[in-house]
Amino acid sequence: MDAKFNDERYLTFALGKGRLANKTLEILEKIGITCEEMKDKSSRKLIFVNEELKMKFFLAKGPDVPTYVELGSADVGVVGYDTVLEENRNVYEVLDLGFGKCRMCVCGPESAKELLRHHERIRVASKYPNIAKDYFYNKKHQTVDIIKLNGSVELGPLVSLSDVIVDIVETGSTLKENGLQVLEEVCPLSARMIVNPVSMQMEKARIRDLVLRIREYLDSEKA
């Protein structure tokens, strides 16, 4: 049922910089897709190519990955689910890669628990204003003031910038050290593979093959 043309085209991957990219490359290597160029840490190249498989890879800042994929500059992207939710771009989410597991939570001092029980107007600090807004408005039906911060969000309640925060929680140790705790869970998070809708149609055979092989590998890991 698929139309077939263009074997010469590169399949381009946008990977979220850091741990996510390393872990993704590990998985790709397990299913036989390697990129030797990328292992050279001293390289200043921005785009890495595997000529044999006709694949290109580049690293991008997490929140930019859905942008590259939506606009078609990359066919496939790997990024955290937090970013997928926050950016809310028109992309297909095809795989849960299973690593990078953590949770998006509402956190604050114990005393803030009470504030979440009523529909009181409170201040929420977050790096993820869209996720925070969606959670409070559409799930909790609570009107809140959202303050966008760019990092060290835990400071919010400590310096009375906000009543609570919405942030990623991995182990919770930063929270504990600062006298904060998880008050509510918004959603679980993990790394996701996203695909451009046009690429999905135009490169269906290659992308299907890729996804099926990764799925198979992930299932064998689980078992």
Binding site: P197, V198, Q201
Partner: protein
């Protein structure tokens, strides 16, 4: 100098020179092709009452419409797409008409999207609507037109995906899903979000044979590669007749000779309830979204008081231009203007040049008159 005077607002732009010449030539090619199938031109206003594009009818969220008020306080909106206007016109002027009505339209549409995402807020669309015809031949004509349009402007690699919402709807009915679950599942599947669909079906306790089958529809990477496979999965009239309709459509498309550009995707569901039968999208390299979208909408016209089936498509000309220039490289120079020089200081030379120029113009040449400046004008 006021800098603001020079800039255009974000999301809109000037189109001129070679690019505009190409745009006009593309529009002209598409238009003459569609008109060749008997489609009549129609022009509707750039803005209409907001209600025409409201949530129940339109496909664009209300917050992304450009809205304003007239002097009586009515809310008006710039059109975000043409289909509602076409439906309104058909209902208003052709209320009694029983025969097929064919419209071709072209114009700019306006969507107030977010800034800084590389998206245009004003784009040109051209499209065709075939109203009062519920036949599979009508579906075939529209899809063949899509393929022919893309070929006419010189695209070589493209693909038209065809989906059928009814198959999924029949399946949901058979499985006894409530409306909310159906809508949620639809959102997951249209986003090709397989595991969200999986989670949803678990959560809502959908019983087993159906969980598996619905997941197969959701799974883009499934093994459902033929109409026969798709039929085997279901046991309800609605889904079966959906597949039969696709089989008939496939036969019509073969008659048009366009089957090699077409593929079927039962997991292609529009987020909107607007479409009632086939839906289709055309994709090509070089742009991040579908350049043509369309489908059958048999209930939309009844919102305007005329109970009539319809099918149609819209091409986003700006996206098509981008795909063409990405695939074919820089634009060729199609601006062949001859310069006709005259010496302004010499008596009677302008009259001579004008006469020559008029002569050439009447033969179809493009000629611009230019006064000679020292050192110029040797052609």
């Amino acid at each position: 100098m006021n800098q603001r005077l020079l800039h255009t607002p974000e999301g809109v732009r000037d189109i001129y020179g070679k690019e505009y010449a190409r745009k006009l030539s593309i529009e002209q090619k598409l238009h003459s092709l569609i008109a060749g199938y008997g489609y009549e031109d129609i022009q509707t206003p750039t803005f209409e009452y907001f209600d025409v594009f409201s949530r129940e009818i339109g496909t664009i969220p209300s917050k992304e419409l450009y809205k304003f008020f007239d002097k009586e306080g009515n809310t008006l909106a710039l059109r975000p797409d043409f289909t509602p206007s076409m439906a309104r016109c058909a209902a208003k002027y052709f209320m009694e008409e029983k025969h097929p009505i064919r419209f071709v339209y072209q114009g700019n549409t306006f969507i107030n999207t977010s800034n800084l995402q590389g998206k245009l807020k004003e784009v040109t669309q051209m499209g065709a609507e075939l109203i009062n015809d519920s036949s599979v031949e009508a579906d075939g004509e529209i899809i063949a037109l899509i393929v022919e349009s893309l070929k006419a402007v010189g695209l070589k690699e493209f693909q038209v995906s065809i989906g059928m919402v009814e198959y999924f709807k029949g399946l949901c009915q058979e499985a006894g899903l409530d409306e909310e679950t159906e809508m949620d599942l639809r959102a997951c599947i249209s986003g090709k979000n397989f595991f969200a669909a999986q989670e949803l079906l678990m959560e809502r306790n959908v019983s087993d044979p159906y969980r598996e089958i619905l997941l197969k529809v959701a799974d883009l990477f499934n093994s459902m590669t033929s109409f026969e496979d798709a039929k085997r999965l279901v046991n309800n009239e609605r889904s079966l007749s959906a597949i039969e309709r696709l089989e008939k459509l496939d036969a019509v498309l073969k008659l048009y000779g366009v089957e090699k550009y077409v593929s079927y995707d039962l997991g292609m569901l529009s987020k909107y309830n607007y479409y009632t039968g086939v839906i289709f999208k055309a994709y090509t390299y070089g742009v991040g979204n579908a350049i043509i979208t369309g489908g059958r909408y048999n209930t939309l016209l009844s919102r305007f008081g005329k109970d009539a089936p319809a099918v149609g498509f819209a091409i986003v000309i700006d996206d098509l231009m981008e795909a063409l220039s990405r695939q074919q490289g820089p634009l060729p120079d199609i601006h062949e203007v001859k310069a006709m020089y005259y010496d302004a200081d010499k008596d009677g030379d302008f009259a001579r040049a004008l006469k020559e120029a008029q002569m050439l113009r009447s033969n179809g040449q493009k000629v611009a008159l230019l006064a000679k400046v020292d050192g110029e004008g040797k052609e």
